[in-house]
Amino acid sequence: MSGDVDSWASWTDAVARRGRLPVQEAEVVLREVGLHPPPAAGKPHRLRVVRVDFAGFMPRGGDIRPFSFGWDPPGTVGALATIERNEAGKSSVFEVVRWALRGRCGVQPDVRQWIRQVLVELDIDDERLCVVFGARDGEPTGGVLRLSAADSGLPGWPTPTARDASHEERPGGALLDQAESLVESEAALWVCRFTGSVSMEAVVGDLMLDRLGFNRLSGWQKMPSGRAAQQNDGVSTTLSWPLWSAALGVGSLKSVIGQEVTTAARLLQVYLGAPWAGTAVDAGGALGAAQQRRSAARRRSEQDATASAERLDALREEEQKLLGRLSGLERSSQTAEEVDRRLRAMQAAARAFAAADTVMAEAARRLEDSSRRFQSAEADLLALSEDRLTRRFFHSLTPTCCPRCDARVTAERLQREQEGRCSLCDEAFSLTIPAQDTGEESDATGAAASADLVDDLPPDEEETALRTERDNLRARREADNGAHDRAKEVRAAAQVALEAARVAFEEAASRDSHTAEVRTTETRLAVVRAFLQDKTAETSGATRIEDPKVRVLEAAEKEAKSRRDADQRDLLVQVSKQILELGRHFGLEQLEEVRLDGAARLAVTKGGAATSYMYLTPGEQLRLKIATAVALLRVGRATGIGRHPGLILIDSVGAEEMAEEDLAQMLRALQTLAGERHAPQILIFSARGRDLARILTAESLQMPPPGERLW
């Protein structure tokens, strides 16, 4: 990852070498398409949650009562816990935080109906932002404010937050009014606003991508996540903010990074900050577009009789189906022999027809190609003659002023042309005008050159060459036309022959209904097989329309991927070491070796046996997942290129099954981490309040009284 490797020169050289192309050609294409080495990514950004506050109205005991919740998590390790009570609302708090950060609501449907206002204060680097909105059944209206004066880590919003007086009022109205008054008093500024969930997702997504520095990375697109991403290495290549921000959460334990196995590899690339990953994505996109154009061009010049791969598959599928059907039917033995003979004859005719069909398609394609080229040559000849005519027209006129400075050309200057000096630029100048433009050599006396004799001129070399080429192309087109006509005739004849053979075959078959079905099935099978045989032979011989750009882009994609993988390899070794160390600190003493690969799979050796993340217990998985997140964070920050903003939310699913001592050890280790530079903010949501209380201080832990809900 030295600076030299990232220079333009090194990049184009490497691509040219890989594609076995001249360097200039590679460079032209790369610059044209905009495939540059990754730009410096800028420093990583820090995201901290400073306050979570929400309120609403919920049905309780036949009545509708207001509820509210507030929490000011610490900047290092903080926990929201309940004691021996599940469904105490902690998952909802987790989801509300994610709602504000992601722009997408994952709160349970019943809770979603009750919540009417949300305020989440965040620090992004030194900027204090507040996501503020009112919500009606999950549809938010509000925006993001910037608070002008707020101490880092301490909430700046006036406490308590304003709340609706009754459930009949506009949801979040009081809070939004409070926001407006802050804006009026210049204590806050609207950074962006949204109405509705679609708008919120787009607006918050854009804001986060911008503030957290993703916009400057290549390979990032602000796409609504509903849109399908292009396939590349079998992994989604475009990531939207909601998808990426899932990496901040440790909820599901299915994958060691993020929530889903399918996105884990891409998230890993971003965690590690492999800069060439973005370039590889861009190269893949450009290559895909170029390949599409090439195949569109190819398709345009083929007739539909030429089978594509899907057609081949469809034919093969049909063949199987027909065979199946046949085997289920009986055949009358008396006519079997005759039927067989005529069937074979029909198959031969079918093959001949398929062959003739292919030949005609090819002839048609060639004809279209030569027609186009001929026409282009005609057009070029015409352009040449127009060029001469117009050039001569202008030569016959006299200049009146300098095109650069507007100075008028005086009569004296014009006179100087007789002496051999240009009236505009004073260079040596002869009134002898090239023969092609006038028709003859002229020692003209300043007036217009004599009349044209273009048509009588012996043609110059360029014109001769063009004419010859044009005539050759015309001859070729004629030849191709003839070949196409003949191919059409042959095909027509083959079709007639096939029809005759088919009729003969059908005559030989008996009237039995079974046999009738056998007959039709066999007929169709014969035709399908003939086409198959012919098409498989033909596709391998298809002419390639070469696009040199595609070769460069293919090489570029390979080169970018190889650089990305090389970057990752080094980093992954470091990360694996860290995971091992952290895992042991978290209480997994039996860990001997850990290896994280580019596809985000974690191979683990513990107690002498080789296994993997997938096969560990939930308690072990949870600890390793947290260890992995922290390890990636650390390595990303140490190299200065990771993109993780240093916030980890743990909805502790597996912690429920962890032994108390193990949990305690992990917490103590996390607290030690908190003391380091670049420490992440780790927020834990758990039902094991008692155990947490033994390790965490009162400031770090928020708990309701035993057996009660959080809100």
Partner: protein, 220 residues
């Protein structure tokens, strides 16, 4: 290929003359340019019109769109469009253009210098600040230029095609601004989807289809 790049300087120059003459506005008394008879405002407009002159299929597309919207006489538009895409002749006058950041674009400096030096065209920048690189350039056809246009029409039948193209383009583009012309061209997906630096591909088959549909919809 000769025709990529718009042909020679002289060829580009005559197209510019025809475009300013046919599409430009008559000069009003408020203009400060001596001897000017017509004006074409903005280089963008010049670039976009040159594109339409050089791509008969895209021009036909616009004519048909105008006919469908009822802004052009249907019979006339269909007749012209048919000529542009059904006959062989238009294909011989295609001069491909490359797509850049703001669509089809080609430097016309040499041709403009030629026309300026001969006293056919005057160019004025409309701007408050001399240093503004995005100032609009207006192209004035001068007396001499108008005479040159007349001579071209009389003496060189070979270039009549470009004059006629300018007339067709003027039928809908005369009152449009450069930006509006550009937007129209972008509405075409093939044009818009052309990668930067690539030649803008033809769309003849599509326009033939459109022509067929419009003909079928004609009240008999």
């Amino acid at each position: 290929m000769r025709r990529l790049g718009g042909g020679s300087t002289a060829q580009t120059a005559i197209r510019i003359l025809f475009i300013v003459d046919r599409v430009g506005d008559a000069v009003s008394g408020a203009e400060e340019v001596d001897g000017a008879v017509r004006v074409l405002r903005s280089e963008t407009k010049l670039q976009k019109l040159d594109f339409w002159v050089r791509y008969p299929d895209y021009l036909a597309f616009e004519l048909l769109a105008e006919a469908e919207a009822g802004r052009l006489d249907r019979d006339w538009a269909i007749g012209e469009a048919a000529l542009l895409v059904e006959a062989e002749v238009p294909e011989l006058h295609v001069y491909p253009m490359v797509r850049y950041l703001r669509g089809a674009y080609e430097r016309k400096d040499n041709a403009l210098a030629l026309l300026k030096s001969l006293g056919h065209l005057a160019i004025r920048r409309r701007t408050a600040s001399v240093l503004d690189p995005r100032a609009r350039r207006d192209f004035y056809l001068l007396e001499k230029g108008a005479q040159a246009v007349a001579s071209l029409r009389a003496e060189i039948p070979a270039v009549r095609w470009y004059d006629e193209q300018a007339v067709r383009a003027a039928s809908f583009a005369a009152h449009l601004s450069g930006g509006q012309c550009k937007d129209r061209q972008y509405r075409n997906e093939v044009y818009e989807g052309t990668p930067l630096g690539a030649v803008i591909p033809p769309i003849r088959p599509r326009v033939l289809e459109q022509l067929g549909l419009l003909r079928a919809a004609m009240p008999v």
